[in-house]
């Protein structure tokens, strides 16, 4: 991390909780260039030759190892599209931490579009954490359009934690997943928009294998004049179970459109969707005020808890 300046280090802390060089494999990208890489005996990272991005190859049976691949942009006006492919070997159990932080103090828009593809091997277990963060007071926008594709082999499981709490002006996040037999996908998304921000979050999950399951839970808060569209679709093509939940708090002049959709193409598919949008309940504020908090403090506690 010696090549990183203070702003870049701060962004790194926000998106990957990194205060120092992590153990295990990592690949740091700063202002469209490689800023550090480490591979291990079981995890290899290679730069792509035909386009920007990397291949992360995790050997079969790799257990309790982690990969960190944070990206930071601190130069105004940078636009990049990066293709990262993860090949997770059969029977492995790994933690993957990605994330992007943009600091834009300039007048030109900064944009990072990360296209991540996961090929999760048989009976492999993956925990994936992705955080997005923006800062800087320039007029240039901070734009992130991540695309995540997940291909899950038989008996594999993946838990995804997707967080975007602050500072990203515009985002269109698309997540697609295809699951084979007995594969299990769990997604926790937390989203907060403020100011004039706009966020689109689209999920399309195909449950193709017998016994596959997906549980997608999104909690979001739209403040000020921000707008969110949450579009969640699960297709049950075999004996499977799918559940989506959109739970949103709306504040000020925020707007939220939740578009749930379920498509059952098999009589044995069990699909459930729940969606709720509402402002913070008055009695929640009152309760916390009777415990000595001001209205503003009560609001912060409720939102922090909701997005925790």
């Amino acid at each position: 991390m010696t090549q990183l300046d203070e702003i870049q280090k701060r962004l790194m802390r926000e998106v990957a909780d990194l205060h120092d060089i992590p153990e295990g494999a990592y690949n740091f990208r700063a202002n469209s260039a490689l800023a550090g890489r480490n591979t291990t005996a079981n995890i290899d990272i290679k730069s792509k030759e035909d386009k920007p991005g990397i291949d992360i190859i995790i050997k079969e049976g790799t257990k309790n190892e982690s990969v960190h691949i944070p990206v930071v942009l601190s130069q105004s006006g940078l636009k990049e599209t990066v293709y990262n492919d993860f090949y997770v070997g059969d029977n492995s159990d790994v933690l993957i931490v990605a994330g992007c932080g943009i600091d834009n103090c300039g007048t030109q828009d900064s944009e990072h579009d990360g296209i991540h593809r996961f090929f999760v091997g048989k009976n492999a277990k993956v925990k994936y954490v992705e955080k997005h963060y923006g800062s800087g007071d320039g007029k240039g926008k901070r734009i992130l359009n991540p695309v995540t594709e997940v291909y899950m082999d038989e008996g594999s499981s993946m838990e995804m934690e997707m967080v975007q709490i602050k500072g990203v002006d515009s985002t269109e996040r698309t997540t697609k997943a295809e699951l084979k037999a007995d594969a299990k996908l769990v997604v926790h998304e937390r989203l907060m928009t403020h100011g004039e921000q706009k966020a689109l979050s689209i999920y399309k999950v195909d449950l193709n294998g017998k016994g596959s399951s997906a549980d997608i839970v999104s909690r979001s808060v739209a403040r000020d004049n921000s707008y969110q569209k949450l579009d969640m679709c699960i297709l049950g093509n075999e004996e499977c179970s799918g559940h989506t939940e959109c739970d949103s708090i709306i504040m000020d002049n925020g707007r939220i459109l939740a578009v749930p959709s379920l498509e059952a193409n098999s009589v044995d598919a069990m699909l459930v969707h729940e969606a709720a949008i509402g402002k913070i309940a008055g009695d929640q504020l009152t309760k916390l005020m009777t415990l000595g908090l001001t209205e503003q403090e009560a609001e912060e506690q409720i939102i922090n808890g909701f997005l925790k």
């Binding site: 309760k287 005020m289 415990l291 000595g292 001001t294 209205e295 808890g305 909701f306």
Partner: protein, 247 residues
């Protein structure tokens, strides 16, 4: 000491102003366990909310230890030492029992300290401390957590609005035990419970009967309870159960 002077409150009832509280004046002394009872719609909960600052009176004044608190916000009254337990406890998605107890105590209390409040209300602390205060909890569990938040706050004046409402009989037995314990440790503070349950009235030092927005009767438990037993101001939970418990 809490003093209410000439408190009135009206509410809009289908376009018509209805008088809910009619010029009530009363004093709640320190070290006292007071139960306010009376028929439904008599103004009991409204009065409790006026004390906590959740409702503003149309006229009159409230004093806590001589300080005029009439224009104080809910927050300032809480800081001045008034605690309030809701009749219908509020649910929070994401906030845990520990979070709520920490907010209530006003400091980052240790887990062991938070657990002691849960034990006081008869909940196994390790099962509950990290649970979210959401709809996965039953009415009885929520009610006990609500009471634990008031215990954690340790207020000079604690107001409980119908603590028995919406709980099962099993939880009710525990609730009585909690209030009996509170009665023993009331020294230096005062407790007001809104209830028409005979078993709770039985714990009181003093009973106030509120009907049609005015004080109908007021006095020591030994005097008032015999006068109201069998009316809708002193309801028994379940005769069979009472017999079992009193064996």
């Amino acid at each position: 000491m809490l003093e209410l002077k000439n408190i009135s409150f009206t509410a809009d009832n289908d376009g018509e102003e209805k008088e809910i509280i009619k010029d009530i004046s009363l004093t709640i002394d320190d070290d006292k366990f007071t139960v306010i009872t009376g028929p439904n719609g008599g103004g009991k909960s409204t009065l409790a909310k006026i004390i906590a600052g959740i409702q503003k009176p149309l006229s009159g004044h409230l004093f806590l230890d001589g300080q005029d608190i009439t224009d104080m916000s809910i927050t300032d009254r809480a800081k001045a030492g008034i605690g309030f337990a809701f009749q219908q406890p509020v649910r929070f998605k994401g906030l845990t029992v520990l979070d709520l107890l920490r907010i209530a105590s006003g400091k980052t209390i240790k887990v062991s300290e938070a657990c002691s409040y849960l034990s006081e209300v008869g909940l196994c602390a390790k099962d509950y401390i990290n649970r979210e205060v959401n709809s996965s909890l039953s009415g009885g569990e929520l009610k006990r957590i609500e009471i634990a938040t008031v215990l954690a706050r340790d207020p000079k004046l604690a107001v409980f609005d119908e603590p028995e409402a919406g709980i099962d009989l099993w939880s009710f037995q525990n609730l009585i035990r909690i209030f009996e314990n509170m009665r023993k440790t009331v020294s230096g503070r005062s407790i007001i419970v809104i209830s028409h349950q005979e078993r709770i009235l039985n714990i009181a030092d003093e009973i106030i009967v509120l009907a049609d927005g005015a004080i109908l009767k007021r006095g020591p438990k030994d005097v008032i309870l015999p006068e109201i037993t069998g009316t809708d101001s002193a309801v028994t939970s379940c005769e069979m159960l009472d017999k079992e418990v009193r064996k």
